[in-house]
């Protein structure tokens, strides 16, 4: 659906997106994660042909360039702020880009906007504007929808509604590229993770694989904690302790089990340390900073 190859974006000669390559298959929900200033919004704008870039961007095998947006005919987007004209009613804002009254009405109903859709958008609250912006992005059943911080200003019910809508469209083949600072919310919908930092792609993995690979620490309890501590220190295996639990890195656990068995110490418990997406991302970024310092 979307192919991004070796894309580089410069803004005022400063590189913002650096040699990024990834693809998004139809029906995939890709979470675009990264700290502030990582280049997420610029990358999204680049895909929408809004900035000058080098490399190739294709949507359904048709190239997007800064001057030719024909490939974007079936792409919906919500970038930075909802694209709403305050002097139009919510319905008129939808009519502006809508091709089908049925599709339009379905979105109004699903996002529960019937109550105020006939009112001028200038009187809308932040959440109402955000829902209207989302509805505009979903108009005409796009092949690809790009959403930048879609949950901004939404209440719990609206958040659930948008999440369901994303799942429903993805099931019908729409691909999504979604950035959000609310990682817990993103985790509930995405099937693939793209992590960028300083304009570079750090991680591009299916969510399951990402979770497995980045559960790097294991914690365990043994029959002889004192002896275990001495053994770990003697073998220079780095560890931390919390109450009666030891925590070690994933790559050491097989050697560790052999070592303990040799000394007739037995495991009472061994389990991966559960980390949420937020903690994992923070850890990856910290590792990246350390690696950058060392270099």
């Amino acid at each position: 659906m979307l192919t991004v190859q070796h894309v580089e974006t410069y803004i005022r000669r400063k590189p913002i997106v650096k040699d990024i390559t990834f693809t998004i298959a139809p029906g995939s929900i890709v979470g675009l994660i990264g700290p502030n200033g990582a280049g997420k919004t610029t990358l999204m704008k680049t895909i929408l042909g809004l900035t000058k870039f080098s490399g190739t961007i294709q949507i359904a095998q048709v190239s997007v360039t800064e001057t030719d947006h024909r490939a974007l005919r079936r792409v919906g987007a919500l970038i930075e702020h909802p694209a709403i004209y305050p002097f139009l009613t919510g319905l008129q804002n939808l009519e502006l880009y809508s091709q089908s009254p049925t599709d339009r009405q379905q979105l109004i109903t699903t996002l529960e906007m019937d109550g105020y859709i006939q009112q001028k958008a200038k009187g809308y609250s932040l959440g109402m504007k955000q829902k209207l912006g989302i509805a505009i992005a979903f108009l005409n059943h796009p092949q690809l929808i790009i959403l930048d911080e879609p949950m901004n200003g939404l209440d719990v019910e609206a958040t659930i509604g948008v999440r369901q809508l994303i799942h429903q469209y993805a099931a019908q083949g729409t691909a999504f590229l979604i950035s959000s600072h609310i990682l817990s919310e993103l985790q509930r919908v995405m099937t693939q993770v793209i992590l960028i930092n300083h304009g570079q792609l750090i991680v591009n993995q299916p969510l399951d694989q990402f979770n497995q690979l980045h559960h790097q620490n294991y914690q365990f309890r043994t029959t002889a904690p004192q002896q275990t501590r001495q053994l770990l220190e003697a073998q220079r295996i780095s560890f931390t302790t919390h109450q009666s639990y030891f925590s070690v890195r994933r790559e050491t656990i097989f050697a560790l089990q052999d070592l303990l068995a040799t000394h007739h110490i037995y495991l009472e418990e061994l389990a991966p340390v559960e980390r949420n997406l937020e903690q994992t991302v923070v850890a990856i970024l910290a590792q990246q900073r350390e690696a950058a310092h060392e270099n």
């Binding site: 704008k45 030719d68 974007l72 987007a77 004209y85 502006l96 505009i136």
Partner: protein, 252 residues
Amino acid sequence: MKTSLKEELFKFTRQKTPVYGLLTLLVLMSYSALTAPITPTQLIFEFGAVQWVTIIMIAVSSAFLAMEYRQHTIILLVAKHPRRFQVYLAKLLVLWLYSLVLTGLATVFTVVLKTIFVGHRYGWFHPVAHHQTLFALLSGNVLGTLLYTLFIVALSLLLITLVKSNAIVIGIGLALGFMGAGFSVAFMHTFAAQVALIRWNPLNMIFITQQLANPPYAAISHLSNGQVISGTLLYTVAFILVGYWLFKKRPV
């Protein structure tokens, strides 16, 4: 292009600014009719409509483009259309259409005001000056106004893309409207030896609004009617091209 035009018309006709523009024109023309003696010159120049139409067009044009950046709708607007030029051209066309409406309204209102205030005095088909009828001179003024609004709309969009401030664009527009022609004349007087070249300066094109309805103005502008028309059109094309180039370069 048809879609872009349809969308721009949809937005334009649902804003209050164009309606205020129309009402302002009527109020200002009425003010002129009530506060100055009604002469054939007043009728030819449609109670100062050419001046008011220009100012209204500057304000409306710059606001029509500036709102896309202010409301952050420019991102979707540019992304959704196959080519950026379509967006720019559609806005230009809609604004030109509006100038046509303003000019048409000014003409109709001139007829109304004439009927109310002077009745059958100054017949439309009687010669009033230079062996030309009131109707012919008024038609010259209407044509001049229409051509000048092409120039002014293209310039307004260029300026708003360049300076990004509505107030500044309106300020420049007012300065152009009230001092532009005078400045051009002073310039040609100061550098009289280079008048053959200087007469082509853009400020001199303002004379199109007077010259087509008042042929002796050719002596002041140093341009024939044909030259002032082609000059206005060439500057319009140049402003469109530069304006579009700036629009394309402006980050969204």
